[in-house]
């Protein structure tokens, strides 16, 4: 039986048009454009000249871009396997509704509504060798000041710590899923004499598998595209120690190397997709609804 044509077809098209125009202009067109531009020689003006995959060869041979890929991989691993486990730990504690859990949940998420610019400036100040709080603490216990963000040995770790300690977003997702697990399961386990820890490992974590996979996938995808807080705190320095693909893309664009910047964009998109597909292959499917929820 074929569906009858909706009598409102014209009105439906009318209502969809604004979203489709914007989506095409800012999602579909940029996507296609980036792939096309990556195969050309082009400096932003004049015609694009097709040169095949030369930009990719150049990029992958560029030590700075390789460092950027490495740093993004480190970001992805830190986000997926440090940030998400910490978020899960806090979520499991809050799911048992300790005193003040709602207020704590609200406060843990607070930094997520503050701009990356503001947080990056505050953390730059905290790390500052002259007046920063961390060095003031070092001074109190008689240690020499350290230039955390200015020293290639500590810069990457310093920006990553700033990023992974803000667990709010993943904590909220995991907490909501943990609280939807039926209470009866825990009551039954209690009667059987299972300790809290056993309950978490035997009931909560297996029940949360899909949500955790989703959280790890999203965290790693965000790690692969990490740009903003590092750009704001170190600009990718010192000596490219903290650079990422996004920062390299931005620098190339600033130097009018548009086609190479586009190739960097293609690699960024492909590696991000690879992470999402790879995680799902390795850990199984996540929770598609939660993924769409951003």
């Amino acid at each position: 039986m074929r569906k009858r044509r909706n009598p409102n077809a014209v009105k439906i098209a009318l209502f969809l048009t604004p979203v489709l125009v914007l989506f095409t202009a800012f999602f579909v067109y940029p996507f296609v454009f980036t792939f096309v531009a990556s195969l050309t020689r082009w400096r932003g003006i004049g015609a694009m000249r097709f040169i095949g995959f030369a930009n990719f060869g150049k990029l992958l041979g560029d030590p700075t871009f390789r460092l950027a890929i490495r740093n993004n991989v480190i970001w992805a691993l830190a986000s997926g396997f440090v940030q998400v486990p910490l978020a899960a730990l806090v979520a499991l504690i809050l799911a048992r509704e300790p005193r003040g859990w709602k207020a704590l949940r609200t406060i843990y998420f607070l930094p997520n509504v503050i701009s990356t610019v503001a947080l990056a400036m505050v953390w730059s100040a905290l790390y500052n060798p002259q007046y920063g709080a961390f060095n003031a603490i070092r001074g109190l216990i008689g240690l020499a000041p350290r230039n955390y963000l200015g020293d290639p040995a500590t810069a990457l770790v310093s920006v990553i710590i700033q990023g992974v300690l803000y667990i709010g977003y993943f904590m909220i997702i995991i907490l909501a899923a943990a609280m939807s697990i039926p209470r009866e399961l825990y009551e039954a386990a209690e009667i059987d004499g299972a300790t809290t820890l056993q309950q978490e490992f035997r009931i909560t974590i297996p029940m949360l598998r899909g949500t955790l996979v989703t959280a790890i996938t999203l965290a790693m995808a965000y790690g692969m595209r990490h740009f903003e807080s590092t750009y704001l705190m170190t600009g990718g320095g010192p000596a490219y120690a903290t650079t990422t693909m996004g920062i390299d893309l931005f620098n190339k664009m600033d130097a009018l190397r548009y086609s190479e910047a586009s190739a960097a964009g293609v690699i960024l998109i492909l590696l991000g997709t690879l992470v999402i597909v790879g995680i799902r292959k390795a850990l199984g499917k996540g929770d598609p609804m939660a993924e769409a929820g951003q």
Binding site: T34, A118, A221, G265, E291
Partner: protein
Amino acid sequence: MRRTKGFTAVATSILKWAVLVFFLLVALLPLCWLVLNSLKTNLELQTSPFAFPARPAFENYANAMAMANLPRLFLNSIIVAVGTVFLNLLVSSMAGFVLAREEWRGRDAVRTALEAGVLVPIIAFMVPYFTLVTKLGLYDKLYTLILVYAAINIPVSIFLITSFMRAIPKELEEAAIIDGCGFFQRYARVILPLSRSGLVTAGTFCFIYAWNEFVMAMLLTSSLSSRTIQLGIRFFTSQFITDYAGMFAAIVISMAPSVIGYVFLHNKIIAGLTAGAVKG
């Protein structure tokens, strides 16, 4: 058995609260330190990093407002954020209405494609965004940021609004049809008011995004008349490198709208974030 459980219970409890307090400090201490520093003199910043100021130096706030064109940038940000919310909710609610309440071929495919937009790394699009905007003569305009931010938020808003509209019982709409409501009236008089809660959530996300966004604003604007407060506080450091206290005050001012909004709307925001997680 009771005895061993008593010991582990105490140990777990201590560990549990240690974790909770640690993350409480992570969330709050940098912000407290920021507010405290914004009330110190520059001399106090250098000499007594942890002490309270002798007297709260509210003049830092006046200085910040006067020096960095902060009022103008603040107003620009308000215009951009409100404009983004309005444009995004208008187009997303129209699309959401036909995606949730009408039946047509290809509907699920369109919805999936729009929602899949959340997985796209927007920073990979710096080159095409910049070229598109300059080619269309939209460079360095306040309304360009509204357009770009509203577009970037389409996937999230479509997801939130469509799931909300789908949950509205069919009977309410049928009653309206019997009463003679046409297509547009069903949208404006029935579905839109009933999905107010979803619209507020989506609008809050838009506002926070637009208020906080930095990269595209940096890329697509250059003059004071179209720059936002995030760019203002970012470049405050280079302009007034010696006035750290004024810089801290400017940061506090820049955070005020989203923090105040969060205080009032945190339940909506958290519910919006978990809309996906719980359903799945």
